[in-house]
């Protein structure tokens, strides 16, 4: 009785599977330091953007405080790792502290303002996020201020750690990759991100997920047929805050550094917004595609342009245009084109194509 999926949605799922496989084998496929950084960042941002999509895409809530929750989780782990020294206890305690703080703030913002107009709610979240950013730079004895905090990760993740050893007691190599702490750290990031993403996927496919969509589509009617809208909204705001906070904790453990730039700044909020818009709102596949594309563009567009400028060096004007210093300009053009040709985001637009009879 159910409808056949479109070719477009099959295509989108294949792309997502491909991305998942690439991330799973990233340390073996791309054996350089930078690629691993990129892969880990993609994992974290998929979770962060997907949790934001729960708000904006599924429920129709616009919030600008998502980086704040990300920051709570990151700073929670960072501060405790700095104070208590490397170990699992500070990670767990810091993560829990981040979740607790996120929950308190999310419930407060939610109950105070989710009843009111969407624009007012968005302004409240903007104000809260600004306060968090100012506090992080002011409380410098705790947060390191603008400089942030540098610390060590748990011993398991130290590059010197021998994860697997061969007969001679040296670090074992599999397919040319050394099984050291760095590998452990990457798979910690990958697996925790996969679990969080899986939970969100489960959530949007559940009866609760359908209620969220109903609220997005017609809030008044959702209320009239018996769903307490303010309770559902507050709940999804809390869930999304908790997931963002956990993503922050994972990122803090991976980076071994936490500062306003990596965990709290509005630049991250803008990245999240771009990723969800470009990937496609209201589907969990959109954030996967959006985050992957944007992180890769941010890291590699300059290199690509450098190479392109080299290649056309004999042609007039073109090398000037393709100068790596102009990468932001080209990134901007890329965004405009993507939004123009994929008005519902890449996943959202593609999934509507190729209807099967």
């Amino acid at each position: 009785m159910s409808m056949k999926p479109t070719y477009g949605s099959i295509g989108v799922k294949l792309v997502v599977l491909l991305i998942a496989a690439a991330l799973l084998f990233a340390p073996f496929l791309f054996q350089d330091v930078r690629s691993i950084e990129v892969a880990a960042r993609i994992c974290i941002f998929i979770v962060l953007v997907a949790s934001y999509d729960l708000l904006i895409g599924y429920t129709g809530i616009v919030s600008f405080a998502h980086t704040m929750f990300f920051g709570f989780g990151a700073y929670g782990a960072a501060i405790l790792l700095k104070q208590m020294g490397p170990g699992w206890a500070p990670v767990v305690l810091g993560g829990l502290a981040g979740i607790a703080l996120s929950l308190v703030i999310a419930v407060a913002i939610g109950l105070l303002s989710l009843r009111v107009k969407a624009i007012f709610f968005a302004m409240i979240t903007l104000a809260a996020a600004s306060v968090a950013l100012v506090l992080a730079s002011q409380l410098s004895h705790l947060t390191g201020g603008e400089d942030g905090i540098t610390y060590s990760a748990p011993d398991l993740f130290k590059p010197a750690t021998k994860l697997l050893v061969d007969a001679e007691g040296k670090v074992l190599k599999i397919a040319g990759v050394r099984m050291n702490g760095k590998i452990a750290a990457y798979y910690f990031v990958f697996l925790s991100s996969a679990v969080l993403f899986g939970l969100m996927l489960r959530l949007v496919g559940s009866p609760l997920g359908t209620v969220l969509k109903a609220i997005r589509e017609n809030e008044a009617r959702a209320e009239a047929i018996g769903y307490r809208v303010v309770a559902y909204r507050t709940f999804v705001f809390c869930i999304s805050a908790v997931v963002a906070s956990l993503a922050g904790t994972i990122y803090a453990v991976w980076l071994k550094y936490t500062g306003p730039e990596t965990a709290l700044s509005f630049d991250i909020m803008i990245d999240i917004l771009l990723m969800v818009v470009i990937g496609g709102m209201g589907t969990m596949w959109g954030p996967v595609i959006g985050a992957t594309l944007l992180v890769i563009a941010q890291y590699y567009l300059r290199d690509l342009m450098g190479a392109a400028a080299e290649a056309v060096s004999s042609v007039p004007l073109l090398p000037e245009l393709l100068n790596p210093d102009r990468w932001l300009f080209w990134l901007g053009i890329l965004f405009i084109l993507l939004v123009y040709f994929f008005p519902k985001g890449i996943a959202g637009t593609a999934m509507e194509k190729g209807v099967r009879q």
């Binding site: 959530l203 609760l208 969509k213 008044a220 009239a224």
Partner: protein, 254 residues
């Protein structure tokens, strides 16, 4: 006579200086279909909004089976058995017809908070939704987005949503508004069908006199937010007072 299922007592709402509904006291009984009539701006839809909770009364009470609902949110009233369909089509436009109805069934079953099992595991909900699809003859449209339905089918879906809530009190606000002549009887038949269950109370706002004659057990007339008349359809419609209101003479007479 049976106990009334729904009572409004001195129900009033003011918007600034304007009194849109003024001290309306009325009782509705199970097994009875009451049509609410009155000229435009009489406060019919506002009266409905006060009962189903889209508006909260300035004073007075809404009581359903002895439980006071006056200050309750619409979702709470829905759980107390008040079901409301809207005058302007009020659906979940991007969701499929089946999904629209399934949402109402799910709300009735109190299953909105299930968050870890896929929707497809809740077969009973889907089966019940399919039952209401069939009852309203929308099965062929099951997988179309509600927004793409023709107007007549959207009105039917509006009725289907209300039926799927399985309320004790059905409230229809001009269910045939804007429908073509060949579609309207289908909807009216569905409403007439509800009367067969004598435990249900039906409230209907309607303009078309032929509909009033065909369905009404009782009529109440609202005018300028006040309850003008209540009683047997034929008698009420025949009374001079009501005729004056409909012909617009009462303003001059007052």
């Amino acid at each position: 006579m049976t106990q009334p299922s729904l009572i409004t007592r001195d129900l009033t709402i003011r918007f600034g200086g304007h009194v849109a509904v003024n001290a309306v006291s009325c009782a509705f009984h199970p097994g009875e279909l009451t049509v609410i009539v009155g000229p435009n701006g009489a406060g019919k839809t506002t009266y409905f909004n006060l009962i189903s909770g889209q508006l909260t009364a300035s004073s007075g009470q809404v009581i359903k089976d002895g439980v006071e609902l006056t200050k309750m949110a619409p979702s709470g009233r829905a759980h107390h058995g008040i079901g409301r369909a809207f005058q302007l089509t009020n659906l979940f436009p991007a969701l499929s017809v089946l999904e629209n109805i399934r949402l109402a069934v799910q709300a009735r079953a109190g299953m909105g908070w299930r968050l870890l099992r896929p929707v497809s595991h809740f077969r009973a909900l889907t089966e019940k939704a399919e039952h209401y699809l069939e009852a309203t003859r929308l099965t062929a449209r099951a997988h179309q987005p509600a927004a793409l339905l023709p107007h007549g089918d959207q009105r039917k879906l509006e009725v289907a949503l209300l039926m799927a809530m399985e309320p004790d009190i059905y409230m229809f606000d001009e269910p045939t508004a804007g429908m073509s002549l060949d579609h309207a009887p289908e909807v009216l038949e569905l409403i007439a069908g509800l009367k067969r269950d004598t435990s249900k109370t039906v409230l209907l706002v309607e303009h078309k006199m032929e509909v009033v004659r065909a369905l009404a057990d009782r009529i109440i007339v609202l005018h300028n937010g006040e309850l003008l008349a209540s009683g047997d359809p034929a008698e009420v419609m025949a009374s001079q007072l009501v005729r004056d209101v409909y012909l617009g003479k009462s303003e001059d007479a007052a």
